[in-house]
């Protein structure tokens, strides 16, 4: 898997991780996200438009990135508790862009689409961070 990363600024600084290839292991994505996190990234977009397949290991990687970003924001935890009860919670720090048909199938089968916003384009995702 190839992962390209770059920074964009909307309302807040955002790191884009663009994945290319099947997301069938967790190591590469988690390592890339951890490196970005150590460099100060607190808002990440995962561009999944070039990911033909996402396996359960890939889902685990997305889960780990979500938890990593969550760990830096205690306020998010309170908002999540309230929002989840009302079915309105979406992660404020991790957004997804344009998963392929099979990628979306994996995400929705696991229920990840309930908690993670999905956008058609990177600019839309970047603009959504507050």
């Amino acid at each position: 898997m190839e992962i390209n990363s770059w920074h964009e600024t909307g309302h807040v600084p955002v790191t884009i991780l663009q994945l290319k290839g099947d997301l069938t292991s967790e190591d590469e994505l988690v390592q890339k996200a951890q490196a970005a996190f150590q460099d100060g990234a607190r808002n990440i977009v995962l561009d999944l438009s070039h990911v033909p397949y996402i396996s359960s290991a890939g889902l685990r990687a997305i889960h780990m990135v979500y938890m990593l970003l969550r760990s830096a924001d205690p306020v998010d935890e309170e908002q999540a508790a309230r929002g989840i009860a009302r079915d309105t919670y979406k992660s404020p720090h991790l957004k997804l862009v344009k998963p392929t048909k099979n990628g979306l199938k994996a995400l929705s089968t696991a229920g990840y689409d309930i908690f993670l916003d999905i956008f058609d384009t990177n600019p839309q995702a970047v603009a959504s961070f507050k």
């Binding site: 397949y53 396996s55 685990r60 969550r70 999540a80 048909k101 199938k105 089968t109 696991a110």
Partner: protein, 143 residues
């Protein structure tokens, strides 16, 4: 009945990409559409990965994949010689719980169940694991 088979005497996780490509091509060739192929490839990929990583302990192992038609049904049959494991006995995860309350992982068998109409396990007479993924009524009657 028509069938297409792929056999490895010593498969590893490096073969997973070729296995997915075989499955997709075989399913389409036997009359399944892209949506059905996507479901079955995702489901079978999880099972093969489990077999190679956990069943064979990440060592090369014998794996056979057969895509079959039975009337209007489409089947993918996975055979391996790893220690016996019946994934249909794994309890389902609660996917409505928030991500932070869920354990990391444990979604592979859930995907196998959700993406097929039926998931059938049996131990064969020669002590192999046979896991069959079934999509019901997805083929045209004239296939």
């Amino acid at each position: 009945m028509k069938s297409l088979t792929l056999r490895y005497s010593g498969a590893t996780v490096r073969d997973l990409n070729d296995i997915r490509e075989f499955l997709e091509s075989a399913i389409l060739n036997l009359g399944g559409d892209e949506n059905i192929a996507g479901d079955l490839v995702l489901a079978a990929n999880e099972a093969v990965t489990n077999s190679l990583l956990h069943g064979y302990g990440d060592q090369p192992g014998a794996v056979s994949l057969c895509v079959e038609t039975e009337g209007e049904d489409l089947l993918v049959r996975l055979l391996d010689s790893a220690p016996p494991f019946d994934p249909t006995t794994v309890p389902p995860p609660d996917i409505n719980r928030p991500l932070e309350e869920r354990p990391l992982g444990g979604l592979g068998v859930h995907m196998m169940r959700q993406l097929t109409d039926e998931l059938v396990y049996r131990a064969t007479d020669d002590n192999r694991n046979e896991l069959t993924f079934i999509k019901r009524g997805v083929l045209s009657p004239v296939q």
